[in-house]
Structures are given as C-alpha cells and as structure tokens.
Homo-oligomer: 521 residues x 2
C-alpha cells in the first residue's frame, strides 16, 4: 500500500453525539472494515472504557484477512511508573500486536490540562512507548494538538516527536485535535517536520473548519503515509476526517493504492452498512457514497448526461459502488422522466400526451408534499399505474385502530382491517406494539392466505418528516419506509395530516411493490 488507512470509527468516531456501539455492533463493523480492506482498526481505549477489554477478547475469534486491530491509550500519568499505570496495564491486557499512544504536543496542555512539567511530559512519552515496545508491540504515536502546539511553541512540539521517535515509535501521527488548522498551514508545518523526522508520518484531522478531508489529502501529498479517520466522518463535534471521501480521492485522483485491488467498489456498501449499525441517518449529499451524490436534477444537466456522462460527473459512480440517479421534480423536463421510465423499461415514446399529463400530476402531488425523491418504489408504482401497467393487489374497505392507556397499565394498540382481493373479503384483527405495528400485523393477516410471500419482507427503516411544522400537531407528515427482503431494499412514501394514514400508504405501497416484483420475475 502507498498509504495506510487507520480507522478509528470504534474509538474516536464513537465519541460522536448520538453514537453508541454495542459489543456486537463493534464486531460486525470490524468484519465489514476488513471486507473493505482497511489496514488498521482502532478498537477501543481499554484504559478509559473497561468494557473495551471484552471487545479485544472477542475480536481475536474473527478471521480477518487484512486488518490489524489496535488499541488506543494515553501515556502514563505524570509522576508514576509505567508498571503502576492502570492505563498501560489495560493496554497490555488488550493483547494486540499494535497500540497507539497519544501524548501532548502543545506546551499549554501539558502545563494547564495535565498540570505537569514539559520535561516530565517527554519522560511520560519515552517511558510509555519503550515499555510497550519491550512487551513486543508495534507502537504508533499520536501527537495530540500537534499543529496548535507547533504554532505556539514549535521547538517543544518537535521535541515531543523526537522523544517518540528515539524510543522506536513506528509512526508519528500529527493530530489536528481541535480541527482549526487550514490546509496551507498543514502543508507548511509538515514540510518543517520532515526536516527532523526519521520515521514515517501520519495525519489525524478533525472537521471543525470543514477542512478535514482536504487537510488529509494535502498531508499525503506532502509525504504522510498514514491517514487516520472514520467511516462517514463520525466523531465528536464536527467529526473526524471522512474515510469515505479520503479513500476514493487517494485512489482515483492521487494514484495511491490504499485498498486491495478491486475493493474500492465496496465503499458505498460499507458506508451504508456502518451507518445502519450506528443508527445514524446516511446523508443524501455525502460525497462519493451518498444516495444523492450522483443524482441529477436540473433539466439541462440531464440532457447532457444522457449524451455523455463525463460532462457532469467527476468520477464514474460505479467505481465506488454508487449509482447515477435522475430526479423527477418540478425542475425536470421531459428528459428526466424519459430517463426514469427507460430505467424501468416503460416504453414511453408513444405516450407523449399521457407523459405530459403524468408530469403535471407529479408536480401537483409534489406541491402537496408527496415528493418521490428517496422513495423510488412508490415512484415506480405510480408511473406504472399511470401508464396502465399495474393494479393494486388488494382494496381496503375499512380500517379501525384503537389505542388505550390506563394510568397504571402499559399502552395497548389493536387494529381491524377489512379488505378485498378480487371477489373475496378478508376481515382481520390484530394487536401490536404500536398503531403502525398493529395495522401492519392486521394487514398481513388479511392477505397472507392469498400472498404468503409477504412473510419474506420486513420494515428496515421508518422516517417521519413534518412538512409544514408551523401547523403544530396538525401538520402534514411524510412517512418514508424502507423495506427489505433477503436480496434487496426498497423505499416507499406516504403523505397525510394523519401519521397513521401516511404510514398506511407507505406500507401498502411497499407490499404492492414486493408482490409486483415477484409477479414479473
């Protein structure tokens, strides 16, 4: 590899707001990162989170092809010996081959935060690294607050690096811990450091100035051969450097090999997978891997796009496992709809009059809040219905939902559904953990005799967005449901002032979509 990718999603990334990984989550993430081909995975900080020791215990059972697991920890505390330091002991217990030690490189921090002397700090660094190397470990050194430290007292910052390298640190990783450094400063400071460093350099950037990715790239350009970051840029405050942006930029634009050959195509999949485990929304507009990263809206673009994709795309989306999308929207001309229909194999050329009618319908629905963006399955059903290619698989006659809560008992929800499939009527009742679950259970009961295949699908995500919040609880809501079976996922939408009705629309679409797909395959 030209550049080693060092992933700290499980350690630094986990400090992001709203993030919290179970042991099981962590092991799944490790396997997925290994599948991508990441070189190093920082698994935790056993000295700070004793629970992490259980992770290091269990991760040994995984059969990893590429990744080396590392443990993170601080230098020994001021004024005590390495053997008495609980943190270093915990690092040993982790039983990994590589550890990353962080030490203060900013004199201000040493004096105020650690409340010790500049000389003792250097001793802490030297002794901690030596001790771990004596135990046979590979040791990387994270120089915390390096760039601020260098700007304030360059001499001391360099002494810190010197202390680490003279006792055998394998890498000196320069950390922009506060995230405040701009790219040309990164470049200039690394240039200076290179006059003194005899050991490979790494970069660990944070995104507080919206510059983490750029800073990492310019650091590599300047000679760093290790980049630390997290998947999807997870991390405290504005996050760590996003590896999902760094990796493709390095491979496709800077001609650096960082993953095993052919693995870059796995990037989007890994990014989405980890966001699901993390239970974090996957941002539509995330560079390279976002669902909308290659989504084209303006009519003029799509015209050109249909002719030559090089005109409007900086890379081929398939290189990172992503796809081009064409959005149908009020800015769309005929060409957007043509593109969508072509994707769906709807022969649209004969339908000019109908096509314009359909566009008009879509714009009307959109002004009511029924945007199809992000709900491709609903759009497909709508288009097919509009062009006479599809009919619903069941008709609702009546639904009732009753929810009750007494002071001291848990809340209950029950639903009754009456529907017809062809000539036959089905009338069922079911309970549920909540109203949507009760409806879903009742609906499935009603159709399962005729359509047993619905047993294969389940809801994998459910989102609600209030469309006109100033209407308070009377606002229109848009429900987006993602459903999945073994092989694929699909998204459907429903809009109403009544969240139950909106959910119902989205559920009905998701079931109809499954049944339609099964019918045609």
């Amino acid at each position: 590899m030209d550049v080693l990718i060092y992933d700290t999603t499980l350690r630094d990334g986990a400090q992001g707001e709203g993030l919290s990984f179970s042991l099981d989550d962590k092991l799944k993430i490790v396997e997925k990162l290994d599948y991508l081909g990441i070189a190093y995975i920082e698994g935790g900080w056993p000295g700070s989170n004793p629970k992490d020791l259980e992770f290091f215990n269990q991760v040994r059972n995984l059969d990893l092809k590429h990744a080396r697991i590392t443990a993170f920890g601080s230098t020994r505390k001021p004024g005590i010996g390495v053997k008495q330091d609980a943190n270093l002991q915990a690092l040993q217990q982790a039983g990994v081959a590589t550890v990353t030690i962080f030490g203060k490189a900013w004199d201000f921090h040493v004096l105020r935060a650690l409340e010790t002397t500049l000389e003792e700090n250097l001793n802490m660094i030297r002794e901690s690294i030596s001790y771990l190397k004596e135990q046979g470990m590979e040791v990387f050194f994270d120089a915390e607050h390096f760039f601020d430290g260098y700007k304030n007292n360059a001499n001391y910052a360099l002494q810190v690096l010197q202390a680490a390298q003279e006792v055998g640190a394998g890498y000196l990783v320069l950390c922009d811990t506060n995230g405040g450094t701009l790219s040309w400063e990164i470049e200039e400071i690394i240039k200076e450091v290179q006059k003194y460093s005899r050991v490979p350099l790494g970069i660990h950037a944070h995104n507080d100035s919206a510059s983490a990715v750029g800073n990492s790239l310019i650091a590599v350009r300047q000679g760093c051969s290790q980049v630390q970051g997290t998947i999807n840029g997870y991390g405290e405050r504005c996050g760590n450097a996003d590896l999902c942006s760094i990796i493709p930029n390095l491979e496709l634009k800077m001609d650096k090999r960082v993953l095993p050959p052919g693995n870059l195509k796995r990037l989007a999949e890994v990014s989405h997978y980890i966001s699901e485990i993390a239970n974090m929304p996957h941002h539509n507009n995330q560079p390279f891997v976002g669902y909308g990263a290659f989504a084209h809206k303006g009519g003029i673009h799509v015209n050109a796009l249909l002719k030559d994709s090089l005109t409007y795309e900086h890379i081929d989306p398939e290189e990172v496992g992503n796809h081009r999308r064409v959005l149908v929207s009020e800015l769309s001309g005929l060409s957007n709809l043509l593109y969508k229909a072509r994707e769906l194999n709807i022969d649209i050329n004969n339908y000019d009059h109908e096509t314009r009618r359909v566009i008009k319908q879509i714009k009307e629905m959109e002004s009511q809040g029924l945007q199809f963006e992000g709900a491709d399955a609903s759009l497909e059903l709508f288009l097919r219905k509009a062009f006479g290619q599809y009919e619903d698989f069941f008709q609702l006659k009546n639904l009732k939902l009753i929810i009750e809560k007494n002071e001291d008992s848990p809340i209950t929800a029950e639903a009754m559904v009456k529907l017809t499939i062809g000539e036959k009527t089905f009338h069922t009742a079911a309970e549920g953990d909540g109203p949507v679950n009760a409806l879903d259970n009742s609906l499935r009961k009603a159709i399962t005799e005729v359509y047993p295949e619905i047993g294969e699908m389940h809801l994998s995500d459910y989102k609600v967005r209030v469309l006109n919040g100033n209407e308070g609880t009377a606002a229109r809501v848009r429900v987006l449901i993602e459903s999945a079976d073994q092989k694929s996922k699909w998204s459907t939408v429903g809009v109403s002032e009544n969240i139950i009705e909106a959910s119902w629309q989205a559920i009905v679409d998701s079931i109809n979509y499954l049944l339609f797909k099964k019918q045609i395959t």
Copy 2:
C-alpha cells in the same frame, strides 16, 4: 469588504434534492441574508423558471440594507441573435442591476453538449455580455467547468475568460462545476489565470470531492475576491460550497472582512432559520453552526474544558452565535453532569450519592434508547425531578384514541383524555387531523382551564427515529418534539414501541417544561 460573498441558495442551492422554495420562502430568505450582510443574492434563473419573474417583481418591495439582488442566465443560444434569445429577454425583464451570465469554458462541452463551434461559443459570450452591459447592467461571468476545461485545453479556457473580460465583465468567476478538483490544482490554475486576467476573480466550488470549502479558501488566499456558495451547502449532488463554513474561516482565521462589523454573531441563527424554511434537517455536526459543533462528550475533554476553553475549541462558539454544550452520556464522568447541572443552577455539590444514582439511571435509560441528546428540556425536567425540584403539573388517568377509515371517506381521528390536576378531574374528547393532533387537542382542552398559558406554545418540529429497525413495525421509536413560543424553542423526547405513547411522553414533557419555566419567571 475584502471578499464579496455571493449567495446562490435560491438558484444553485435550490437544485438540491428535496429542496423546493415557494415565492414566500424566497422573500423570507432574502431578508434573512440581508440581515446577515451578504453582498449579492442570486434570486433565480428567469430564462429557465418563468415563475422566477414574479420573485424579481416582488423582491423590489423589500427594504434591503446590504444585499444586491442578481439574476442568473445562460449566454444566448448558438446561432441566434441576442434580441431573439428568450433567456436574455427574461433577464432584462427581471429588472435587476446585476446579472450573472454563465458560459462554457470546456471545449468538450461546447462541442458535445451545446453542439456548436468553439468560435461561436466565444461570440455567444461576447455578444451576451455586451448586450446586457448596453442595458446598463453590471455583469459577472461564471466560467462553467473552468478547471476541467483548463486541464483539458488551457488555451481555450483562457480564451473564454478573455472574451468575457474584453467586453466588460465585472468579475470572472471560475467554477468547479463537477466538484472534482483538488485544492492544490485550484491554487496552481488560479496562479496561471492571474497572468492573463485584468478583472477581479471569483470562485464557485462544489463539494463532490469534499473539498468545496477548502478550495474556496485557497482561492481567496491566491487572490480571488468573490466567493459563491450557499447557506448550509445546499445544492445538487453533494452541494455547493457552504458559506456557513467559508464566512467564519475568512473572518476569524484569514483576517478578511466579508460581513458588516459585528454581523458574524448572526451566522448560526441565519443558518438554522434558512434550514427551517427549506424544511431540511439541520445537521448536528455542521462546522461552526451545528448544534453539536461545540458539543463535548468525552469525560477527559470536559475536565480540561471546565478549566480553559482554549484547550479544546478552535474558536469561541459565541463568535458565530453558537454555544458550547456538554453531553451527558455513557462516556461522561461526574464532570459532564456537574457542568449540565451548573448550567441549570442545580446545586449539586451536596448530592454526591444522589448524583451517582442519577448517572446510573441515565445510563440505564440510554440503553433503552432514551437518549437525552437533542432534548435538553426533557433532560432538565428529568434532572430537576431527580433532585426533587419539580413535579408534573397534571396526572394522566386514561387516554383512548380511535382512528377509522372507510374506503371512500377521509380518515378520522378522535381522542379521549382523562387527567387530574390536584384534586380536580378533567375528562375531554377532541378530534384531530391525526392521532397525535387529536391527543394534543384533547390534552390542551383538559388543562386549559387551569393553565391557559399553553395557548402560547405550538409544535415546530416532530422527528421520529426507529431505534432497532430490524424489529420491523414493532421497533422502538424515539420521538423528538421541538416546541416554540414567541421567545424560545425547546426540545423534548419520548421513547416507546408505540409511536403514540412516545409522542405523548414528548408532548407532556414539552407542556410541563413551559409551565415550569413560567412558574419560575
């Protein structure tokens, strides 16, 4: 101003997926941008969206203090005269003092997308700009795909700039339309352009390589004096350059005046306001203005933070109108909770035993999905209740909710609520647009006699997140409600498998919070 900020939220930003501004939205955004002190606001593209003409009509009625409104448009079409070109005519009709014309700077585009000759393209640029200048307008020139164009045929790209400048373009704005250019390339190419340009340069970056902000900053460093971007980085695909990152970086780190003195403090407010109008979620981790941009979680940081904020913050959050936050979470030590309690003026020092009990309770609730992050009002009520400073203002005895839909009639929702306030019982019923609205109406009816002040608050946002999506419709959901009155906003949370119960918890907290605040002020 050292650098002119040119906002294209209403034009380029509006091409973002899921974005759609009404006329009213646009006028509100213009006023807010003027309040911030933006120099230029691009209002629309009348040649492409005839609806935009109504905007240009109405925007004249606003009393703007700083901003100049511009209109955007393409050069005349190949092979027709300027007077016959509908787009240029529409630009005139917009009746603004400044227009921005875009023209192709990449030979490939001219030949393939426009299907005309390289020479005709130069004519189109010259004639269009001259024509508009003759009408008395200030004209900026956006050189579309400039960096790709320069890399492929530098000579032609420079000819394009030359054509624009020789007929009086006020600015040559270099556009990285595909968003694929990296920062050192931006720097090198601008350096070359400067040998030939006699007119000030601008930069218009896109974020496909996660480099838009960095590219804009390095362009300014290299001499550009106009930066185009959007609020919150809205825009097609991965968005335009985020002005909310660019503006503070320029003012606080590069010593460039870009807003009227003192206006930088308005940044966070403007960012949030526009995201609400746009109905887009405001990302917690957005640099500078995100709700979590200065949120500190790890126990070690907060310890240092309490001593000296310079240790962990690259700027003072108040400079951009943001605030420091301390997160209470499983990584939190005693110091995080102390900080929170201190903020709330809860005298916590005496409660060591109780404090540890409370931390334990919080961790247990979090493992059930009841995270307080983003729901500060619920956290405050919880803490005050835990320390005996607060009691609920009403007690629920029973609630019932009935939802019904017949095949051909609209869905109905009605709720019954029985509760007590002190000794008195209130038993009400109400209908609603949906279940949550019906409950809310019924609850308000029940308590309004004793607490008429609840008439002042309303729900301003409502979010639902599924916590364990693989449970399908039986998953636990977390409801986050944002409430507002004239003066402030507050967020509350509820968690349950039943979305009605989760919503109920959040609504009850939001009402109790209002009543508590009114009681103590």
